[in-house]
Point group: C2
Chain length 755, copies 2
């Protein structure tokens, strides 16, 4: 077999060489002929998206506040549905009913040592008329905050991460019975009240420090793009790393009449009141604090001495909500596939904004609609996708991925059986293509990035990504970008947008894409995220909107048209092997740090290096870390690697000979389950909704990804038995993946071997 | 010989073991008998210094402003001289006459886009009466600024280092014809106007940013120890890395009637006007600037967007000075040695302050006087040092090490022939012992640190230094502190205090010492450096003043009483070898960076990663770096290493047998030239006054040390031929050192070998 394979490979190589002289080599997953046709349609497609239409669509979508439950949101949903229909798509609004708390009372005042009442309001700007639509704007608040009426001393907790609480502990400062004030950044916002509550705090304020998000970064709006003094970052504080979607309907679509939890019993709703505030409102509170001076890394850009407290600033925080059930409108449109209508390429961007939402999310939705229009044009010219294309506009994303999660839960079985790809976008800006997702899609993303033109430089967007990797990367990244590796790496998915239910709950092959990096600003989740702001400071001429439509559209067309789903597993193998390397190092680092801490306690150096005037508490002694059973993971990855190599060889042979003679339906049916194999049926520890063994948002980082999360978080917690248990589960998942790939190679080899 | 030596060593080891059971092993450089006597006197000495007396002395010395040329300075000099005499010392005031410019006119105003006149004055505080001695205080200014009357746009240059100007160049911002505004920090202040002038600036403002030195660090004075909004850091901007001392008398003592340069021809006086300002005065200027937003690392803690300019802020800066020649009063006291009166142990601390100077320098001078008093007490009890002890109080340090430099230049021959050690202190605070100097003194410093009690913990100060090294150090430092190395490392000397003429011009064995690290604050060179501040925020009970007197006094007694000067060369060898390793790495890093930059230009990645909206200039192409002749240095260090090992063995044998039978006078006469051998007679490139091949202040860093400076700075400049030339000179210097050590071993071996 080996000899035959080698012969086949050599033949394949020769054919490719010839083909390369005659024309470009066939696209990944296509025969030479289907590739030629595909390329023609893709080129036609990319010529269609129009910056003027994207601009006009954005202006309409962002004309008024369009949050979940708002009149303009419903109008937008209907308008988007009608637009899809006008492009020749089937389109419907699918309605859910979701728990959506909005503020009844919001009070924040300092009662000592000086009186101060927080403004809790973003002023309208005469330079930007959209900001004056006061009656339609949601007030500044955090969705799924707890209710409460508390008066307590304030403690400054920096970003409010678990590591920050270790610093507080060393300083002898407890948040028990206190209200914490944390700055935005360093973790997802929902982590801040969760960790505060776990440490005994009774309330939580979250403010935007001007160092991270205000005048320190640049001129503030309307003079510049950055957050003005009264600007507030609204946002959900649902405990999303446990499960997203309606807190009262975990795991099922929240249709009218569904059985619901009482909201007081929903684990993802915060137990304490949480309120976001501006830096103008935060400054008097922080200035009134005493206690230890905050460490250098904790200091922001307010003109004060940052101190930790507790107190003497005492604040009164009162929050009550209307716990309404409101209608949610997902728009779902379909373009039926010709050959495999029951294989779906799904693509979505959310439609709801926190206020007007021009950059978040509508700058991503307008290009999505332009893609749909362009595909409609192709249909008129005779094109048909082989697979069914499903385009969605998700409502209620801002409050906890409500629209996407409820839809994915409602259609879980169908999606598990049909979806071959989910592509997400969430807004868009000026700069570089960013991509994260299932790592066997890395080659596909690189293929497409190599044919999209960057509007600023005229080079391909891939060339710009490569240039940035070389300019900013470490030695390994530089070498890889220069050719030590064929493809640029894509990131791993944590959370923070609508891809989460698809990849982490259902195991659907997933990508998240967007342009950005040259478009900084500080209007996120504020009334200043408007068409006026976007067209002054971000992708002002919508050339990156067009590039996004071209990029995502090409990915959709490519996947919908491929003879074999264009997955390449070697990058998955290499990435997973890298994660295991990281985990080994993490265990070793933690073990070394435990040993070092214990040694310093034994030696007395921890005590001797203490400043008697400002003593810090000595760290606690911990049991030494055992070695972990990493050989299980190593073996699983070796097995996966062998399977991937075999599949690659078989694919090369098949391409060189006759891909069309392969049992394509059977093969694709296997391939589309590539992420499903890596799900852990019982889910991750303490959060069964999250099932993926490779990717999850961190239980204590939020949006930030934890790769091989079960193992990694167990090591983070120094729970060594749990780490070993999770190693077994992750190894089994990788073993299932290897088995799948071997099966796929079987199918290929049945047709691909030279007799 | 080897066999004999080994036998001797074994005998020595056995003897040491016995001695260790009977009593402590002999002190380094002492016989068993002289060691026993020495220990008794040292213990008696350490019991004498008294915190109450240090406090009283500091209160008197800091009672009024005491800068060079002030009435209180002269009173202090006379009082100190008389104190020495009252302790039984010979003491004189040695007078010099030095150029001392003081302001005639100081004008700083913004003329556009808004009018603003800078205050340029530190307000008195009712909480601290010393601050109200207005008529005696020097105004806020930089000594040896140029004169000028310029109006120009402002450019913000961060710390004003050469690296900062590279950033400006990339941003396309030139300082030609502009006035720069730099913040304190990142380099010595004198570097800022020098580099600005070299880039074409016509004026320079230096301000204290509250991030580095103000409210961001902690509460400001008088509420806390940190710099208040109108506080100004005065300071000299003489080009000290070229030569210190009176700018008009380089190389010679500036006695009455000495031939002088015209001040306009003195190379160390700045060519452009320079003025230090407070952050209250800086804020309106910085807030009025536009141009590129400063990079994150350039941003301070003022509540503004830091922007680079140029302009539109235009400022008018006018400075004229009285270029007076004033008397300078060095106090020099002697306690004559009994055995070797022509070997001198010299110790100094400056006496002049910028204003009242409680912490800088008087908190170091008061313990010095207490040491002198204690030695006087010992003399009354029958003690006599074997060597002559010379104690000095240097005037005019703040303006450019005037008193110490002029004295060292005046007495250069005598010092070269007599000095066996110079110990410097410059103020003192609460915390850890810090020590830098000639590396063959490392063992001596460690020996002494092991017998001084830390007042805060009751452990030895060595134990605390060790604990801090373990707590804060990298892996190597931790391992070394835990015993991989016998001694804790001492630092290398750059500049910034009176040791410079001794080590870097004359090659005298030198140490600089002080306690600190738990005593932060922001009153440096301001009217707020007072007795009131010091006794609230620094070494409030003067226990560290006592510890300093005990530490330095023990070092002085030990060196003055040793049979053989207590130098140990293996640490010098190891340190020098480490420097060569650093230089190799520096060359390789620079070479790699040049190659990488050129490659990015060739690839076009530098261009492609540029943001078209905010393009930065591409870096310039540079010729590749050649390999350097490091083998010369490697060989020199191998030779030095062999010599040091031979000397160590010979010393162990001699100690084990009969140290007293060694030709001690001859041996000590060799040893005291250990740094002189490492001088380069013609000095360093462009600064012949600085002659040491191992240690110098950086030509473009100022106080910060550059080790192996000739080689290192040539590499910094990418001047590869110069680097090779300097490698030859440094190798020759190390060769002379090796020859000296071999000669010393010869002397020892003539007496030390068992027949």
């Amino acid at each position: 077999m080996n000899r035959a394979l080698r012969a086949g490979l050599a033949a394949g190589a020769a054919l490719t060489l010839i083909a390369a002289h005659a024309e470009d080599p066939p696209l990944r997953g296509f025969t030479a002929e289907s590739s030629r046709i595909q390329r023609e349609w893709e080129e036609k497609f990319r010529a269609i998206p129009d910056t003027g239409r994207i601009r006009a669509m954005l202006r309409t979508l962002a004309a008024r506040p369009n949050h979940l439950g708002s009149p303009h949101m419903k109008q937008n949903a209907e308008m988007v549905r009608d637009a899809f229909r006008s492009y020749g798509w089937e389109a419907e609004i699918e309605e859910f009913r979701v728990l959506f708390p909005t503020p009844k009372e919001r009070v924040l005042e300092m009662v000592a040592p000086v009186k101060f009442t927080a403004r809790l309001d973003e002023p309208a700007l005469k330079e930007d008329p959209s900001t004056s639509q006061k009656s339609e704007q949601l007030p500044t608040y955090n969705t799924y905050s707890g209710e409460g009426d508390v008066t307590a001393p304030l403690v400054y907790v920096n970003y409010g991460t678990p590591a920050d609480y270790e610093v507080l502990e060393r300083q002898g400062v407890s948040v028990k019975g206190a209200i914490v004030i944390a700055r935005y950044g360093g973790s997802w916002r929902g982590i801040k009240p969760k960790v505060a509550y776990e440490h005994g705090a009774v309330g939580c304020l979250i403010y935007s420090d001007p160092k991270d998000d205000g005048y320190a970064q640049g001129e503030v709006y309307p003079a510049g793009p950055w957050r003005p003094r009264d600007g507030v970052q609204r946002g959900s504080v649902m405990d999303m790393p446990v499960y997203p979607g309606d807190p009262t309907t975990p795991g099922v679509g929240s249709k009218e009449g569904v059985q619901r939890l009482d909201w007081r019993d929903a684990t993802t709703i915060m137990k304490i009141p949480v309120l976001p505030i501006s830096y103008a409102d935060a400054q008097p509170l922080l200035a009134a604090m005493t206690g230890p001076v905050a460490p250098a890394a904790w200091r922001g850009a307010l003109p004060i001495t940052y101190r930790i407290g507790p107190g003497p600033a005492r604040v009164h925080l009162k929050l009550t909500f209307n716990w309404d059930i409101v209608p949610l409108y997902d728009v779902v449109a379909k373009l039926r596939g010709s050959t495999w209508p029951d294989e779906w390429v799904v693509r979505g961007n959310h439609i709801d904004g926190w206020v007007n939402g021009a950059s978040d999310p509508l700058a991503g939705l307008a290009p999505e609609l332009e893609e749909a229009r362009a595909m409609g044009e192709l249909v008129k010219q005779g094109w048909r996708p082989k697979r069914t294309i499903v385009y969605a506009a998700w409502d209620g994303e801002e409050h906890g991925l409500l629209g996407s999660t409820e839809w994915a839960e409602q259609h879980a079985t169908e999606l598990s059986e049909k979806a071959v790809l989910y592509i997400n976008t969430d807004g868009n800006g000026r700069g570089y293509l960013g991509a994260s997702g299932s790592h066997y899609l890395e080659a596909l993303v690189n293929d497409v990035a190599r044919v999209i033109q960057d509007p600023e430089t005229g080079e391909t967007v891939w060339k710009r990504m490569q240039a940035r990797a070389i300019q900013n990367g470490d030695a390994r990244t530089k070498a890889e970008a220069r050719g030590a590796r064929e493809n640029l790496r894509i990131g791993a998915l944590g959370s923070g947008s609508d891809y989460t239910p698809f990849i982490q709950h259902l195991g659907i092959p997933t990508l998240d894409l967007g342009y950005g990096g040259e478009d900084g600003g500080g209007i996120y989740h504020s009334i200043y995220d408007t068409f006026a702001w976007y067209t002054r400071f971000s992708d002002t001429s919508f050339v990156y909107g067009r590039a996004l439509a071209q990029t995502v559209g090409t990915l959709v067309l490519r996947t919908a048209g491929a003879d074999v789903l264009p997955y390449q597993f070697d990058q998955l193998v290499e990435t997973a092997r890298g994660y295991v390397g990281e985990l080994k190092k993490l265990r070793d680092d933690e073990a070394a740090q435990i040993a070092e801490t214990n040694r310093q306690l034994d030696e007395g150096t921890a005590r001797l290096a203490n400043d008697p005037w400002k003593p810090v508490a000595l760290p606690a002694r911990q049991p030494l870390a055992p070695s972990l059973e990493f050989s299980r993971l190593d073996n699983a990855i070796d097995s996966l690697s062998a399977a991937a190599q075999r599949y690659d060889r078989a694919m090369q042979v098949a391409v060189a000979q006759n891909l069309a003679s392969v049992a394509l339906g059977q093969l694709n049916g296997l391939l589309r389950t590539a992420d499903q194999q890596m799900l852990i049926p019982e889910g991750l520890p303490k959060r069964p909704w999250f099932k993926h063994s490779l990717y999850a948002p961190g239980l204590y980082t939020g949006y930030g990804v934890k790769t091989m999360p079960g193992v990694r978080e167990a090591i983070d917690l120094h729970d060594w038995p749990l780490a070993n248990e999770q190693i077994l589960k992750a190894s089994a998942a990788l073993g299932r993946e290897a088995a799948l790939i071997r099966k796929a190679a079987d199918v290929l080899e049945r047709k691909g071997i030279v007799p």
